[in-house]
């Protein structure tokens, strides 16, 4: 074996040419690379790329499951973007509004929670589990619990407020104006303390102790150390959580279905809910596919912009990312 390898490294012409070494090492590496990646590649073609092409085709058709698709050109896209579907832009607006609030607050709170947990308090493992618990809760259970809590007349939240002297608590999920913020609270409860917090925790733990100590010696107080030492070094983590967080916020769906059904008066009518309705309630699959593609393009654009913008403020320790 060894001799074979040595021979291969020095050139193709030498001594024994065994069946194994018909391919050059370079070609073998090439082949190996493809082979090892092939399960993923196959999965990508079958379960991602293929279906994406199919849905792209469907977006140019009118297709109610059970009949044959009928090509109608750009009609679906015109219908959505021109406002003929009078819920398209509002649902887009709701979703963006939700993301605009959820993402900054969520990330800040996750960072705060991670910092807290990084203090080597006793029982950190327990605190960490407790913080993480909401994100483990099945969304059905979370929706039921929160609907209960938010009930204006008999729910626990208004009852607590009443104990504190507030006579008539807000109507929470029942009023169009307060429904969206109420859902945001549920969203925050589920996500802060979840994966984002753990990733921040990992990021915080990677900040070398020496830098903190050096800064402390130089007389920096805790806040200054945070701003000038920790924060720059965790910008990659913030960036990662930002990208994932924006995508997750834009995809909000389950909690709206289970807690408010998109109401009241379409106050929580998110884009995904709109899409789901057209796909699985009204069975206009062609239009739903067009909506899905518009959403996809939006998300891709936002992520790209995010990446470009991040070059300004993200600091990578080892120089640029490979």
């Amino acid at each position: 074996m060894t001799s074979q390898l040595l021979t291969d490294r020095t050139g193709p012409s030498l001594v024994r040419v065994q069946r194994r070494s018909r391919l050059s090492p370079r070609a073998r590496e090439e082949l190996a690379g493809w082979l090892w990646t092939s399960p993923w590649l196959l999965g990508f073609l079958l379960f991602v790329f293929g279906p994406m092409l199919a849905s792209l085709y469907l977006s140019f058709t009118q297709y109610a499951v059970g009949s044959t698709p009928r090509v109608i050109g750009l009609d679906n896209f015109v219908r959505a973007l021109s406002g003929k579907d009078d819920l398209f832009w509002p649902s887009m607006g709701r979703t963006v509004e939700y993301a605009l609030v959820m993402v900054p607050i969520g990330i800040s709170l996750s960072l705060l929670a991670a910092t807290l947990l990084n203090q080597s308090l006793k029982g950190t493992a327990i605190y960490r589990t407790l913080f993480f618990l909401p994100s483990l809760t099945p969304v059905v259970a979370a929706a039921v619990i929160w609907r209960w809590l938010y009930q204006p007349d008999f729910g626990a939240i208004n009852w607590l407020l009443w104990q504190l002297g507030v006579d008539e608590g807000p109507r929470w999920l029942a009023k169009p104006d307060s429904a969206l913020p109420s859902l945001m609270v549920i969203g925050l409860w589920t996500s802060v303390g979840g994966g984002a917090m753990l990733i921040f925790l990992a990021g915080l733990q990677s900040v070398p102790r020496e830098l903190h100590d050096a800064a402390a010696i130089d007389g920096a107080n805790a806040w200054q150390r945070f701003r000038n030492v920790t924060l720059p070094l965790i910008t990659p983590t913030i960036f990662f959580n930002l990208v994932i967080g924006i995508i997750a916020a834009l995809k909000v769906f389950a909690v709206a279905v289970l807690a408010t059904q998109g109401g009241p008066n379409y106050a929580t009518w998110f884009f995904n809910l709109h899409l789901y309705n057209y796909a699985f309630q009204f069975f206009e699959m062609g239009y739903a596919s067009a909506l899905a593609w518009i959403f996809f393009l939006l998300v891709v654009t936002l992520t790209y912009l995010n990446v470009r913008w991040s070059r300004r403020w993200v600091y990578y320790e080892g120089g640029d990312r490979p």
Binding site: R171, L173, N265, N277
Partner: protein
């Protein structure tokens, strides 16, 4: 890591992988009809009207599927198929497609993959849609081939399941469109009204009476709400009750235009708004029409709600099992309004046959069997369904005597006004839009007049869409 060595880890993984692979292989695909024999059987020789046992000449070995919403509907259907098998030898497999709205999604997606059940439960709101798109089989040829007698059936019931003169479903259960008033006799008596647990004692109530009673029954304790008087519904069917009583409707009979500008419409909607916003006699409305369902039942069972809008099923939900004799109660019909009548809409739970079923004859036999009074009555008594629209069931002496409120409903069902169906059969969309657009009114942020322009725009947009094909 000494305990979990790599070898053991991998062995564990392989074992773990083996189990699911074996299990997945064991997963039988959904039962395809195991017909080994030709499905065309000779039709029954004797007409079935009056016959007590269905004795069709069916091919042995045929298995058909019946789809329900599951839950109690499903449990009851399980019993029915067992009995059917004993009596006729035809095997029926019950499949449950989930509660609405998932139920409709399942029917359509399974139809696309040609796996939908042979007998499908379909109610008035969705049946026309499906029939129009060719998902359902016409029943007339099956009825003719069987010489089945339809004279016992209420004509309105059959009409409401027909499209363009063709019948697509049998009226397995019906009710007058929610239209029931579940009331706590004790609480209302305490408020000064002479009501007992006989529903007739409420039969002369008007909407004014109801509002008055609701206000009187509403109580607070230490500044917190304690008891509420009445909880209206906020969905299409519930609003329709009030509208009809005032002589108003959502749309014209041809289903093409809205009729929401009439003073009667405004008056009816304002009555509902009053209960929520002005008199505050109702618990807060939920964000959607269905959100309050459970809460209302819970409040009623805890004596915190004196009356609730309900339907025929109010006899069972929350039911005596929950109330356990804590107070006297019953279900009456919704009050009469200024137009001198109650608002009704004939709502039918139909049993249909799938257009792509390979065993339409056996499916029809099962549907026919389900419509027989002997098979209906036990189900209704157990709370599993509403009465079928045939006289033998509606006038059934057992139902009349053993059910709390059947006698008031029987007449109301027969006299109910027809269902308002959009011309493009997009009732589900219309329904969900109605639930949404008035939410601000019930929450008190706008008046009915303020909500109407935008709401009408949205509803007319639904009516203007083409039919789904």
């Amino acid at each position: 890591m000494p305990i979990l060595s790599r070898r053991r880890f991998i062995t564990g993984l392989c074992l773990a992988a083996a189990i699911p692979v074996l299990e997945a292989c064991r997963q039988a695909p959904p039962a395809a009809p195991t017909a080994a024999v030709s499905p065309t059987s000779a039709p029954t020789t004797a007409p079935l009207s009056g016959a007590t046992t269905a004795a069709p000449v069916a091919s042995k070995g045929v298995e058909i599927e019946v789809a329900t919403r599951g839950g109690t509907d499903g449990d009851i259907m399980e019993n029915s198929v067992k009995t059917f098998l004993e009596q006729t030898g035809i095997k029926v497999k019950h499949v449950s497609y989930g509660p609405e709205p998932e139920y409709w999604a399942k029917v359509q997606s399974l139809n696309a993959t040609k796996q939908v059940a042979d007998v499908i439960w379909a109610s008035t709101g969705n049946l026309h849609n499906f029939a129009n798109r060719g998902l359902l089989a016409e029943l007339d040829p099956l009825i003719r081939a069987d010489n089945y007698d339809l004279s016992d059936y209420v004509k309105a019931g059959l009409d409401s399941l027909s499209l363009n003169g063709k019948l697509y479903g049998m009226p397995w259960g019906g009710h007058p469109g929610n239209g029931g008033l579940l009331y706590n006799a004790d609480l209302l008596q305490a408020a000064g009204y002479k009501v007992t647990d006989d529903p007739e004692s409420v039969s002369d109530w008007t909407y004014d009476t109801l509002k008055e009673a609701a206000v009187k029954a509403t109580k607070t304790k230490d500044g917190r709400p304690d008891v509420f008087g009445y909880s209206p519904g906020t969905d299409f069917l519930s609003l329709n009750n009030v509208l009809g009583a005032y002589g108003a409707r959502f749309m014209s009979p041809d289903g093409k235009n809205l009729t929401m500008d009439t003073p009667e419409f405004l008056a009816a909607m304002n009555w509902v708004r009053d209960i929520f916003v002005v008199s505050k006699a109702s618990p807060a409305p939920g964000p959607d029409a269905t959100a309050t369902g459970n809460t209302q039942n819970e409040l009623f069972a805890s004596s915190k709600l004196a009356s609730v809008l309900t339907g025929y099923w109010g006899q069972f939900t929350p039911g005596e099992k929950v109330i356990q004799g804590k107070f006297k109660w019953n279900v009456a019909l919704q009050p009469k309004g200024p137009a001198g009548k109650r608002g009704t809409a004939l709502t039918i739970n139909g049993m249909t046959v799938s257009a792509i079923s390979k065993h339409k004859d056996e499916a029809w036999q099962f549907v026919k069997w389900l419509m027989e009074p002997e098979n209906q009555v036990p189900i209704i008594l157990a709370g599993g369904s509403r009465p079928a629209l045939r006289k033998k069931v509606l006038d059934n002496p057992r139902l009349m005597s053993e059910m709390k409120a059947h006698k008031v409903f029987a007449k109301a069902i027969v006299e109910a006004e027809p269902w308002q169906m959009p011309a493009n059969y997009r009732w589900p969309e219309f329904n969900s839009t109605v639930s949404q657009i008035f939410a601000g009114v019930w929450a008190g942020t706008e008046t009915v007049e303020q909500a109407l322009p935008e709401g009408k725009k949205k509803l007319q947009a639904v009516l203007d869409k083409p039919a789904i094909d």
